[in-house]
Symmetry: C2
Subunit: 203 residues, 2 copies
């Protein structure tokens, strides 16, 4: 039976690093940015367009009134939204059917929640704001010199987009612990210290 | 440095079992009901009285208007409340100072949050309502025949009391993942499977 670990994560909490190292530890596949590429391929939309949508919110492409129920929106736009939802669902399900893997983001916990014949573990990774700012500063590409205040604003914006996209897609609250098997606060933990034990815990 | 694991838990989620087995695994002390006994000893209140308070809410003993800020309450009652808060804080701090240990409940995560010279890990254990009802049924003492509906009502009442007591004491939200280092959903996990790895993860 394929072992699938999905990882939701607050921006800057180290969720992607944890997912990547967990996949290495368990010697299983790791999917992250590849999901976007496969949605692009499946929908035949441009990469920029799909990125714009999945990094904002599903209703991003609809007229503002749609999300407040004031209008049924433009039929063409609704069709585009449905295409993205369908492609994202299919891509994630195919990944889980193919082999054991770690999947970061993209509502995978929700998409796979009732899938039979897989061993599913849903993780959520989070951390205090200070620790996330520190982490972003340590890993900033050379030449990027955001102040702490700018970074905090950026972190809050990315998280808000993730929360919106997740709730548009799943009608559930992003980060609500009842939707996950384990929530890990990386504020006082070294990811390298926990990954070997985490791997053994589930499978 | 003493290694302290505090465990907050939803009723019926297996948090106490997890804590007990973790203490055995790590060969460290385990505190649960003993905390109540020590508060009784320290305050010289009756066991029944202390139990009534800690299993309800701190403001339980105050006139109803007090908790809504309508009255300053009765001086004697406020003093009693302060005695309980002080005793609970001292008992937990003494336990943490004495040796490495697991402490279940009693706002220990909050009381110890800024304590120096200890290695603190704060866990919260939770589970779906169905799984908690099943767990309670499996472990019911002989002769106890609650229906599922009655059990659900009981579980919700105990959790509400825990949430109230925690928020009276800490001014924080009980079960809010930001107050814990790890939150563990036992719905799809066997406690025996995770305890050995959990023990190694932190210390």
């Amino acid at each position: 039976m394929n072992q699938i670990i999905t990882i939701g994560r607050e921006f800057g909490s180290g969720g992607r690093e944890l997912g990547h190292k967990l996949a290495q530890e368990l010697k299983i596949a790791y999917y992250d940015k590849q999901i976007l590429a496969e949605i692009v391929e499946m929908t035949e939309f441009s990469k920029e367009y799909v990125q714009e949508v999945v990094e904002n919110r599903l209703t991003y492409m609809l007229p503002p009134a749609f999300s407040t129920g004031m209008s049924l929106g433009n039929e063409y736009q609704i069709m585009q939204m449905q295409k993205i939802i369908k492609a994202q669902t299919e891509v994630i399900k195919e990944m889980a059917a193919k082999s054991s893997c770690v999947i970061v983001g993209r509502c995978a916990d929700y998409i796979l929640r009732d899938t039979e014949d897989i061993d599913l573990v849903r993780l959520f990774v989070y951390a205090d704001m200070d620790s996330r700012i520190r982490r972003c500063m340590e890993r900033a590409p050379q030449g990027e010199n955001y102040t702490e205040k700018e970074l905090e604003k950026h972190i809050r914006r990315v998280d808000k987009n993730r929360a919106n996209y997740y709730s548009d897609f799943t009608l559930q609250k992003w980060g609500d612990k009842s939707n996950y098997d384990m929530c890990i606060n990386t504020t006082n933990m070294r990811i390298d210290d926990i990954v070997p034990h985490l791997g053994k815990m589930f499978f």
